[in-house]
């Protein structure tokens, strides 16, 4: 009888093992959600650190965020830096609040309240996604337009007071018909061809030579802050010798704001975050309907709401960092 060991000597010890001991006092599902969130945090921090790397590497070709994101709905032509992203941040924080309220109502087993708060969370998520789409639209469309040099640098235009000037404000239309090269015209080898910009390089150059008060602004950082603005003579020399291409808006190859990598990272990081928001909304909708049909009421536990809540807060958390490193710093 002595030989049958029924006790292991680890009873009552938290880390002793065995199927009844649960040292972290969290359910399997919640623990796995934390695993996922930890690894996803590392993914996002790798993206943001890579953004930082490229920015530090091309510090002399990086745009100023305040100038890029300065639109607000119904305020056309008004310089409104940051207002819109701040609004988006508030929307996301608020939908995080309704999510915790839903989790809290779940602890009270209050189905009505959980339903209401889950619904508000889904609405908040959808509004955020719409806002992001609008932000992308403005970014892709561009505001002022710029010229690319032979070396692939972006030069922009300012007036003598240092205010940005759009290409449309000074370019001089020339009586030349420009035709877009298309595959249907037999130009299959010109696959790289982009649609014609609003003005040809010649028109921009002609307008630039005519208007004495337009100067070229480089991407290099000036000693006293801001970007370097050339004198009129230097500007003319740059425009006549180095100008190569008219750039309007942004795509993955080039953008009017500065270094191509800026737009690449913008599309990739906010896109990847937006994708997380999208999946979050989809999962929230599924949980919302499960709440409606009483699945968790029968299960006598709303822990599922808590688990998607963790994911939803994580999405908010990532946005807080994207907001800082894309728009503020």
């Amino acid at each position: 009888m002595e030989a049958t060991v029924e006790k292991t000597g680890t009873e009552g010890k938290v880390w002793g093992g065995g199927h009844n001991s649960s040292p972290l006092k969290a359910s399997y599902g919640k623990l796995m959600m934390w695993f996922f969130i930890t690894s996803d945090t590392l993914t996002f921090s790798a993206f943001l650190a890579a953004y930082g790397f490229s920015r530090f590497k091309f510090l002399d070709a990086w745009p100023i965020a305040d100038e890029v994101f300065n639109h607000f709905p119904f305020l056309h032509g008004v310089d409104a830096p940051m207002y819109y992203v701040a609004l988006m941040t508030f929307i996301l924080i608020f939908s995080s609040v309704t999510m915790v309220l839903a989790v809290n109502a779940g602890h009270e087993m209050n189905k009505k309240k959980v339903t209401l708060y889950m619904f508000l969370t889904v609405v908040g998520g959808i509004i955020f996604l719409g806002s992001q789409a609008w932000e992308w639209k403005n970014f892709i469309k561009g505001t002022y337009g710029a010229v690319e040099t032979r070396g692939g640098r972006i030069i922009q235009f300012v007036n003598t007071e240092g205010k940005r000037v759009a290409l449309a404000d000074f370019a001089q239309p020339l009586p030349v018909v420009r035709e877009a090269h298309e595959a249907s015209n037999g130009l299959w080898y010109a696959a790289d061809e982009r649609p014609n910009p609003s003005f040809s390089l010649e028109e921009v150059k002609a307008g630039f030579t005519k208007n004495d008060n337009i100067l070229v602004r480089l991407q290099n950082n000036a000693e006293e802050g801001g970007k370097v603005v050339l004198s009129r003579e230097e500007s003319l020399a740059v425009m006549n010798n180095q100008a190569n291409l008219v750039v309007e808006g942004a795509n993955l190859t080039r953008n009017e704001y500065g270094h191509p990598l800026f737009a690449d990272f913008f599309f990739f990081i906010t896109g990847f975050h937006g994708f997380h928001v999208f999946t979050g909304v989809v999962i929230n909708i599924i949980i919302f309907f499960n709440v409606l049909i009483g699945t968790y009421e029968r299960r006598k536990s709303y822990e599922m709401v808590e688990k998607v809540g963790l994911y939803w807060h994580f999405v908010d958390l990532v946005w807080v960092f994207v907001f800082t490193f894309f728009y503020l710093v």
Partner: protein
């Protein structure tokens, strides 16, 4: 039961407090971001100007409130808390240091070295 009810009203109160804190921090960030006070930009501390330090510290404060309050990290066990937070903090610090340091190095190569980009 009565204890349960008071516990939950406390929790709701805490949620709104945290919401107010997060909103105020965001507002401060936005106002600083729009005005960019000269003093803060011109004063440099540990190779970064003061404004950026403020932004980063405020962001970490926000992250703390979101994780601790909204994600209920404050109610988890010490083991779970540490295994998540320490892992992330250590790896992120390492990653950031390495990448930003090397980025600066390459910038200096472009600037002072034989490879130049000025056309």
């Amino acid at each position: 039961m009565a204890q349960d009810a008071s516990h939950s009203t406390n929790a709701v109160k805490r949620i709104w407090t945290v919401f107010v804190i997060l909103s105020v921090i965001t507002l401060v960030e936005v106002v600083l971001g729009i005005f960019r006070p000269e003093v803060l930009i011109n004063t440099s501390f540990l190779t970064m100007h003061l404004l950026n330090w403020i932004f980063i510290i405020l962001t970490i404060a926000k992250a703390y409130y979101i994780v601790w309050s909204f994600m209920h990290m404050e109610h988890e066990t010490k083991g779970l808390r540490r295994s998540v937070v320490w892992t992330v903090v250590f790896l992120v610090c390492y990653l950031t240091f390495i990448l930003l340091d090397e980025g600066t190095y390459i910038f200096n190569v472009y600037k002072d070295g034989y490879i130049q980009w000025k056309f």
